[in-house]
Subunit: 222 residues, 2 copies
DNA sequence: GACTGTGAAGCCATTCACAGCT
DNA sequence: AGCTGTGAATGGCTTCACAGTC
């Protein structure tokens, strides 16, 4: 549950799950815009994102009355509103720490740039990687991180180093005045309260699938 | 909520969130084993994974009594039990479709191989990529998928193609007799009911962070 | 004495069902 | 007539608090 500070939307509580769905809706709306669709109703957003229609309406209604009763929602207007709610009506500077396979893939990921995330730099400790280019992005030595942050402030740090280095990297990011961290390392990292951390675990999803497959086709272990 | 078929664990319902946490616990336990720790109590598992201690105990208790009252849990024994619950006491064959940056990174991701996931092959449509090697893994043309599946059955398909090709790929995977799909494309894909699909959205997590940052530092749009 | 296992309570999120508009 | 917005009902998950066991 996320509590709002009194302000733009009054004092209000919104489930975190709602924000996650808003992100899904916005991507669906983007696709509708590309197709030239101008109106949409909640049931379509629902089936396009795998959600219940009442849920879609409730999620949107937390932030205002964006629809027209009896009609639906104007796609472009709703899209603009949702993007603003998500804080995506501006550019965000992102730094990736760890230029392994995953770090490189995320640095080049079009899904980020297309939504206003600017990868400002990629850092690594491995001498053989430093100086290499990822398109027009150079891999920098991690010793330059604080210097870089001074000259090029960034808001988000993405951690893609092995688990045992994750806390060290987090500490460095804190010193770099980062505001939020996306952590792909499978460990809990400690940071000051005012910094938001979101852990992404890539294997968790696969393992949920193997659990379910195991149920259907149990291999009894004696 | 996941319902169990009558069998190994009786007829029982377990929250999906429990399975996701079991996956986190198992990784934490793995780290304890590497450190040579033999006993652990729920409060330690809790702080090591960012969860409440009662929750840890309840999650484990769905599947049996693995602990000793007054003492705690034997790390190795608990680890083995959790891995078995997750269906990770065997190898799973995985195929990745889409050899872009993300597909390549996932194919080489050590976090998968270290947990018993064997990447059996990587497929793509791009002629310039086909035949390239990712370590000892060759990129194959997608036209060979069904053939490949005949000779080398696999359980899981990972979709890392652009959104507009995702459904086509899913259809092919269904024909390949896949049992579960991990979908990184930001669209809902339709498959028969008996095939489990899990959608992973990489931008959702970043956007939850920007939402929260926007709350703290609102940029009012007039 | 200490920690697990668990019923009960509390809390949060989703879904229903219909009033309110256009 | 049709679809949104929303209070009320439901359902599910998490946390509490303590009985049970070593």
């Amino acid at each position: 549950m996320i509590s709002f500070p009194p302000g733009e939307y009054g004092t209000l509580k919104v489930p975190e799950a709602t924000i996650i769905r808003l992100s899904l809706y916005s991507r669906f709306l983007q696709q509708l815009i590309e197709k030239g669709v101008t109106m949409v109703m909640s049931a379509e957003i629902a089936s396009g994102t795998g959600v219940n229609a009442a849920q879609v309406r409730k999620d949107l209604a937390y932030f205002g009355e964006f629809g027209l009763r009896g009609v639906g929602y104007y796609v472009k207007e709703l899209y603009r509103n949702v993007m603003t709610i998500l804080g995506l009506n501006r550019e965000w500077n992102v730094v990736v720490i760890g230029a392994g396979n995953l770090g490189q893939a995320l640095s080049l990921y079009r899904g980020f740039s297309s939504r206003g995330f600017k990868i400002a730099a990629v850092f690594d400790t491995d001498d053989s990687k430093i100086g290499q280019k990822l398109h027009d992005l150079e891999i920098l030595p991690i010793s330059k991180l604080l210097d870089f942050a001074d000259k090029n402030p960034f808001e988000v740090g993405v951690i893609t180093v092995p688990a045992k280095f994750a806390q060290k990297v987090a500490d460095l990011l804190v010193l770099s005045k980062v505001k939020a961290i996306l952590n792909f390392a499978p460990v809990v990292i400690a940071v000051p309260d005012e910094i938001d951390v979101r852990n992404v675990d890539l294997t968790v999803n696969l393992e949920l699938l193997t659990f379910k497959m195991g149920l259907k086709n149990p291999q009894h272990t004696p």
